[in-house]
């Protein structure tokens, strides 16, 4: 049904900081006014909680990775559309070992990570590359906020983390990043997803959000004073500074230009990635105990191709709005 007031949740992460900036600087407001709607952008501290709230219907959209979008809202029956693919992790997630720089040495260790998150997925992909499986290690669920402190403890030898924590781990003496997401480029995507039904009934929401996003992108990219100031503000909001934030950006492939994003989404990569992801998710019970096979949830891609059940499509990649941005139709 048609509405004129919407709520979007975001959480602190390098690729999503622009939302906070756009909200504070009035850019989101400006675009919402243009389409005569209201958009409330809310920061949620705890990433998982923000997704849960979206799934429960408290929000119309949320910032999320491709994997969590599949396993939480989509598997929970909420038809979800990836409206904007903002970036993919290109070294922002990594496996860190103490005292060795060989990934194979991970065998038999207790690995600290946020269980069932993209870190877990990254670990699974990393283990494949050295012919190991999850059975060869022991996963210890560790809260993302505490992983840095935990790694300082003598009995922790291995961890998987994302930025900014990864940066902190990297700086510690004796720590080595033995595998990172730049070795599986494009597999960990940072998205803005919205509820499909809401989007279909209110295309203005999609247009306003996409328009705002790419205006922010334009502002923050480059080296002019405005861009530097924007990145300073984002760094500050993330609890670090300009330098720290730029270090994080360096390991992120931002799609500053909508054309790049459209190109990425329309390539075959998302399908390939989601195939891996859904197998992983199924193996770990992330699709729910009642999911009989990975095909339980259907995934639709920008070119119309499909994975899984066509009767139960709950996760869709949509390039329409990014294309409009590319073509200047917003």
């Amino acid at each position: 049904q048609e509405r004129d007031s919407f709520r979007i949740a975001w959480s602190i992460y390098v690729g999503w900081m622009p939302w906070g900036y756009g909200d504070a600087e009035g850019i989101v407001q400006k675009w919402a006014d243009k389409y005569d709607i209201e958009i409330d952008v809310v920061q949620i501290n705890d990433y998982i909680e923000s997704i849960n709230l979206y799934t429960a219907g408290s929000f119309d959209g949320v910032t999320v990775t491709n994997m969590d979008a599949l396993t939480i809202p989509a598997a929970g029956g909420v038809d979800t559309t990836a409206l904007i693919v903002g970036d993919f992790s290109d070294g922002n997630d990594g496996v860190v070992l103490k005292g060795t720089d060989d990934l194979a040495d991970i065998e038999g260790k207790r690995v600290h990570l946020v269980e069932l998150s993209v870190s877990h997925y990254l670990l699974a992909r990393a283990l494949e590359t050295v012919g190991l499986s999850e059975r060869d290690i022991r996963v210890v669920n560790t809260a993302d906020a505490d992983i840095v402190a935990a790694f300082n403890s003598r009995d922790v030898e291995a961890a998987v983390a994302w930025n900014p924590q990864l940066g902190e781990l990297r700086r510690m003496p004796d720590a080595n990043v033995v595998f990172d997401s730049s070795q599986i480029p494009g597999e960990i995507m940072d998205l803005l997803v919205v509820n499909t039904e809401v989007l279909e009934a209110n295309p203005a929401l999609g247009k306003a959000l996409t328009g705002a996003w790419y205006e922010i992108m334009e502002r923050m990219s480059g080296d002019d004073a405005i861009a530097v100031e924007a990145r300073t503000i984002m760094g500050d909001a993330a609890g670090t500074d300009l330098e720290g934030y730029e270090a994080q950006l360096a390991s992120t492939t931002m799609f500053y230009d909508p054309a790049d994003a459209v190109g990425f989404v329309e390539s075959g990569q998302p399908l390939e990635t989601m195939e891996n992801v859904r197998q992983f998710a199924f193996e770990h019970g992330l699709l729910g105990e009642r999911a009989p096979s990975p095909d339980f949830v259907g995934i639709q891609f920008a070119d119309g191709s499909m994975l899984g059940s066509e009767a139960n499509v709950k996760f869709r990649f949509n390039a329409d709005y990014m294309r409009m941005a590319r073509d200047g139709e917003l």
């Binding site: 429960a56 969590d68 598997a75 600290h112 669920n141 402190a149 935990a150 403890s153 009995d155 770990h284």
Partner: protein, 272 residues
């Protein structure tokens, strides 16, 4: 008509009244759940009672796909072990520190303000320090519980010791007791049931710290499971787990009451 404060329900009415709120909550839940499920049968938020019962049974009786363990029992054993250790050590520390600070003026002056300040520090905020000092294994979890409840128990025991009538201490001295003998034969046995009362009061916090520590770094445990499955909003697991924890908390509380009743028949008990 009597004033309402002078009216007492008879036994069956009383029982029925006591059940009423539970039945009401259950009904409200069932209606809300049915309404949500009618809209979206996959909605994870308010699963039906039968789905929860099924999930609980599965957790209790079917080996997990990933680890081959009976999840519920593994979690329960792990959590109760941590809780038990943390609480027992806290009790020991509370007893020793409380008796010394309560009984010996010099020790009281030296440690009582320190313990008071210690008890005001929010333990969750100093987690990083605990990690670094005690690692992230079982020890850290037990230490978090101790850090959370031991200062409280120490203060409570100290107060109970200070409340002992001076008359008793004087009497013991006129019977020739030394400080050590007074501790052993007069103070310790009288403080023990009060220690159990203090522990009962502290158990709520102990459960909280247990869950918080398991949420932060663990491979099994009741809190671990809840925070893990929270990742995919698996209320089918969370709600039965919450009920299970509540039941366990209840049983531990009753156990402590019974110990007090049967081991210390002379003790009238503190209300609460």
């Amino acid at each position: 008509m009597k004033r309402i404060i002078n009216q007492t329900p008879n036994r069956p009415t009383g029982l029925a009244l006591g059940l009423l709120p539970f039945v009401l909550v259950l009904l409200v839940y069932m209606v809300a759940s049915a309404a949500r499920l009618a809209e979206n049968p996959n909605d994870p938020l308010l699963p039906s009672l039968s789905a929860m019962a099924e999930a609980f049974q599965r957790l209790a009786t079917e080996p997990s796909r990933r680890t081959g363990e009976l999840v519920l029992w593994v979690d329960t054993a792990a959590s109760l072990t941590r809780l038990g250790l943390g609480v027992l050590i806290s009790m020991g520390m509370g007893l020793v520190v409380g008796i010394f600070t309560g009984l010996i003026p010099y020790v009281r002056r030296a440690f009582s303000p320190f313990v008071t300040v210690l008890s005001m520090i929010p333990p969750l905020a100093v987690l990083p320090i605990l990690f670094i000092a005690f690692g992230v294994g079982e020890l850290a979890k037990v230490v978090l519980i101790i850090f959370g409840i031991a200062p409280f128990i120490m203060r409570d025991v100290q107060q109970r010791v200070e409340e002992l009538p001076t008359e008793q201490l004087v009497k013991a001295q006129t019977l020739g007791a030394s400080t050590w003998q007074i501790m052993l034969r007069v103070v310790l046995p009288q403080v023990f049931p009060r220690l159990l009362d203090a522990t009962r009061l502290a158990l709520g916090s102990a459960w909280l710290f247990l869950i918080a520590s398991e949420a932060i770094a663990a491979t099994e445990g009741l809190g671990y499971r809840i925070f893990l499955v929270r990742r995919y909003l698996d209320m089918e697991t969370i709600l039965p787990y919450v009920a299970w924890i509540t039941l366990l908390a209840f049983l531990v509380d009753i156990l402590l009451r019974l110990i007090n009743r049967y081991c210390f028949p002379w003790y009238g008990g503190r209300r609460s």
